[in-house]
Amino acid sequence: MTLDLVYFAWVRERIGLPKERVDTAAVTVSGLIDQLREREDRYALAFSDLDAIRVAVDQTLVELDAPLEGVREVAFFPPMTGG
């Protein structure tokens, strides 16, 4: 499955990219994170504290155990600070 990944705030800065396309066999968001962590240190650093990571799949907030089936875009970012 091919997914569009988008990153925001310090997640984007640590990974060094605003977005990328990845092929994955991961079934859940956390499986995808495991795959990314193994790629390079900058991903391991970005995902070193999962309590500080929020996820949206196809622009909807989800938990880390959310399934990826049928998903096109996954966004990773820190807790939001609007207002």
Partner: protein, 144 residues
């Protein structure tokens, strides 16, 4: 019922000139860029997730409308580089009575804080710092 996400400044008086006509109560809140306690903030960079932001704000607004009898509702949130004192965002609520208008405005603000995809970075002469979310902001949602 309006949601706008934009870089440009907004004019509060202009926005309210036609807002909530016929309502008994209108409440408005405006958020401004605060300088650091020690001073020295050059600007704040507000980043957002364009594909998600508007629909997230509309969902928050729709939830508010199920809870209070709002005749009108306005959310404006800016992004980009904002200097100290600049307006970041505003909400306005219109209802028959003040209690609904006040409560709905507080509800909108509480959800905007931690459920709308915005992130703030403070930039000073000596460096940059991403604003961290506050535990109190997450706790604030529990009262609703």
């Amino acid at each position: 019922m309006t949601v706008r996400v934009e870089a440009e400044p907004f004019d509060l008086a202009l926005e309210l000139a036609t807002f909530g006509q016929g309502a008994g109560a209108i409440v408005t809140f405006t958020g401004l860029v605060r300088d650091l306690p020690e001073g020295g903030l050059v600007y704040m960079e507000v980043e957002h997730y364009p594909a998600m932001t508007t629909q997230a704000l509309e969902a928050i607004e729709a939830e508010a409308r199920t809870r209070w009898p709002l005749s009108d509702c306005l959310i404006i949130h800016r992004f980009g580089r904002l200097v100290p004192g600049a307006q970041i965002m505003m909400v306005a609520t219109a209802a028959p009575h003040r209690q609904a208008a006040f409560q709905a405005a507080e509800f909108l603000m509480d959800y905007l804080k931690s459920r709308a995809p915005f992130w703030k970075k403070e930039v000073t002469a000596s460096g940059e710092n991403w604003v961290e979310s506050a535990i109190k902001d997450e706790d604030a949602l529990k009262r609703w």
